[in-house]
């Protein structure tokens, strides 16, 4: 047993690719994503304005709109064509169009229309703008009325109640800042780790086959495949768990992402994800014991995990067959555990089926060890 451990440590340490995939790249991704979205919620998105009216009303309207934190009116254009070109160049994400005669019509109670054109091919920017857009416009248009109401001696509260009788007060549970870093990094980065685990696990068995060292491995384990696999995976596990620990500490102790359940619970969830991913990697090679096929399987499953786990596009909106398939993706279970424990603050017991599922991956891999043994003994490497 000890011999296998030493052999595996030697194999990993002497391959630069393994250093890269197990330590350098996962930690690089952690730094990349968390620093890229450090701002949390994008602010001051560049917007344009086409003001054909050029009156005191239209200018005060512009000032009101510019005052919102999310947007920043950077440019004004003389006509719509110019604004559209700027949008197509990517200078702005949207623009206001204030038609000619706004002030005149507003004074005559003819209800002029101000339009907001928004580019939805970059959805996050578009959605963020939309979030307050409706209220924004309501308040901005209310500003004119408010002045009139104040003049008639209304109090601020009365004026507000007149302009906006019903207000919607939003309470985003667990992430009140709508912080994108919290929203994405919490699942995306463990997902990256999972992808690396799939790849490295499959790769390491592929290399045994390619270099014809599988027999040696089996001999060292006294012919016991289960012992050989667990020893090999234990060495990997130590590295993965260290990286996973750094990730958890980085999220919940340094960046202080919300974690209602406390760091140790998420640490346990990370442990489960690592075990399940390693098991899934073993399963992949057992099921398709050629490097080409097994690595393709790992790539497909790994990359698909990010979509199917439902973190960005809800699973309930995906086609039914995929909804059923989601049970076979470790990241889906990890994501739900994270939502349950860290974000919403319920005990892990509340989401016990997902804990069981993650453990079932391990059982699945163990059940397939005879198949793996057969494959390593009988399948020759094929380029």
């Amino acid at each position: 047993m000890l011999e296998i451990l030493k052999r595996e440590i030697y194999a990993l340490a002497h391959e630069p690719l393994m250093w890269f995939c197990m330590i350098v790249a996962p930690l690089f991704c952690v730094v990349l994503f968390t620093s890229m979205m450090e701002e949390g919620l994008p602010e001051n998105l560049p917007l344009g304005v086409v003001d054909l009216d050029n009156s005191s009303t239209s200018r005060s309207l512009q000032r009101n709109l510019d005052a919102f934190q999310m947007v920043n009116i950077t440019e004004s254009y003389t006509d719509v064509r110019e604004a559209r070109k700027a949008m197509q160049r990517g200078d702005i994400y949207g623009f206001y169009y204030i038609p000619k005669g706004l002030q005149r019509k507003a004074n005559r109670q003819e209800q002029p229309t101000v339009s907001f054109y928004m580019n939805y091919s970059f959805i996050v920017a578009g959605s963020l703008l939309y979030k307050d857009q409706r209220t924004m416009s309501e308040l901005a248009s209310g500003a004119a009325i408010r002045t009139a109401l104040f003049a008639r001696g209304a109090t601020n509260n009365q004026a507000l109640a007149y302009i906006q009788p019903i207000v919607v007060e939003s309470h985003p549970i667990g992430n009140p800042w709508l912080n994108y870093n919290i929203y994405l990094s919490n699942t995306l980065l463990p997902g990256m780790l999972m992808l690396f685990i799939f790849m490295v696990t499959v790769y390491s068995f592929s290399m045994e086959q390619k270099r014809g060292t599988a027999d040696e491995l089996l001999r060292m384990a006294g012919g016991n495949m289960f012992r050989a696999v667990s020893a090999k995976m234990f060495v990997h596990f130590l590295v993965w768990f260290t990286v996973g620990t750094i990730m958890v500490v980085w999220f919940y102790e340094i960046l202080l992402f919300p974690c209602h359940c406390g760091m140790p619970v998420m640490w346990a969830a990370m442990l489960l994800l690592i075990l399940a991913s390693q098991a899934m990697g073993v399963f992949m090679f057992s099921a398709l014991p050629t490097p080409r096929m097994a690595l393709s399987f790992a790539s497909l499953w790994g990359v698909l995990s990010f979509s199917i786990c439902g973190m960005s596009f809800p699973l309930m909106a995906q086609p039914a067959p995929l909804q059923a398939m989601a049970w076979f993706f470790p990241l889906r279970h990890y994501f739900l555990l994270y939502v349950n424990c860290a974000l919403d603050g319920y005990p892990m017991l509340n989401a016990w089926p997902h804990v069981v599922c993650l453990l079932l991956f391990v059982v699945l891999a163990i059940l397939l060890t005879p198949r793996l043994k057969y494959a390593l003994q009988h399948y020759a490497y094929e380029a």
Binding site: L45, Y130, S141, V167, F335
Partner: protein, 388 residues
Amino acid sequence: MLTKLNIIFCSMLRVLGRDKGVLIFCILLPLGYPLLYTWLYSNETVREVPTVVVDQCNTALSREYIRKVDASPDVRIVAHAQDINGGQDFIRRREAYGVIAIPRNFERDILRGQQSSVRVFVDMSGMLYYKSILTSATNVSLEMNAKIKASTRAIKYEDVSLYNPSNGFAGFLIPAVLVLILQQTLILGIGLARGTERELKQFTGFQQILNVSDSQRVTLATTGAFLLLYIPITIYVLGIVPKMFSLNTIGNFWELWVFMLPYLLACIFFGLSIGSLCRQRESIILLAVFTSIPFLFLSGVSWPGSNLPPFWKNFSAVIPSTYGITGYIKLNSMGAHLPEVWTEWRNLWIQAGGWFLLAYFSVIRQLWPESFHEKPTDEQQEITNNSK
């Protein structure tokens, strides 16, 4: 000169054609992945998000509010709860993703001319739940506000969403994924081929006649072979797939090609350079697959490019997909013309030039006499024999 180039080119095509790995990564993958992804996001947006209502007011006005929210396409009221805690129990069991709570004095306050707030609690496991529930609640209150005030607003507002009519997920993510697939599969295919060459210490079986003076020809032949392979693939991925799923395609075909040419070249040279790092066939899969996710984010499609920290902005400038994706979205989804994508187009040519130099250098290094006559190690010899 030309005949030798011809021989190298043809033999390269033969070797690529026989390689099952190249078949998977450069043909099956670009054929299959776009279909899978477009299918996955075919619903575009999430409708009828299950929501619980806590109506503490229970009057005609509050019931009207609830009825209107339920009637909106994005939200479905699945239950009524006594209080907020009861409502959150549904979230705990994941039977609902939001709670809309109407206060006890809702109607009374409004009739007295006071402001009243409707509280909306949303599960933040997905931004789309938040967007659906909040948008519906806001729209209903704006609609009712207009009625309560019974006076016209001074100025009317309208929102026009451009370039993604359904405001959907597929309309925004798929074009980016399609362009990214071209780059990633090229890197995988080229890396696979180069790793194999290095493993077998031969250039497409022609090691006897190739020497360092053939570097130009080898670079040219590889570029030509992959370009040839990727012309039909690009037509399929960028031309046919969006049509099949009726995504936006308002770009001009020829303008798209003028734009895609430097993109494909930059990707090929990028792939050749990265491929030179591969000691084995399989290495490239480990090196390239994971990069899809960071590359996608660095292109500014999800996190707005205008808010990317300067360091990462500069970092992303060396990756072809950064400009390929934005340029393609502008041309094809937003109907821009070449002058509007001039920056991207120019940057792609600069990238192609830079990566070409690196790629060329790496080919020279590979053909350099010392490494050339280096005897394969026993291990490699064994593998060569095994694979034959």
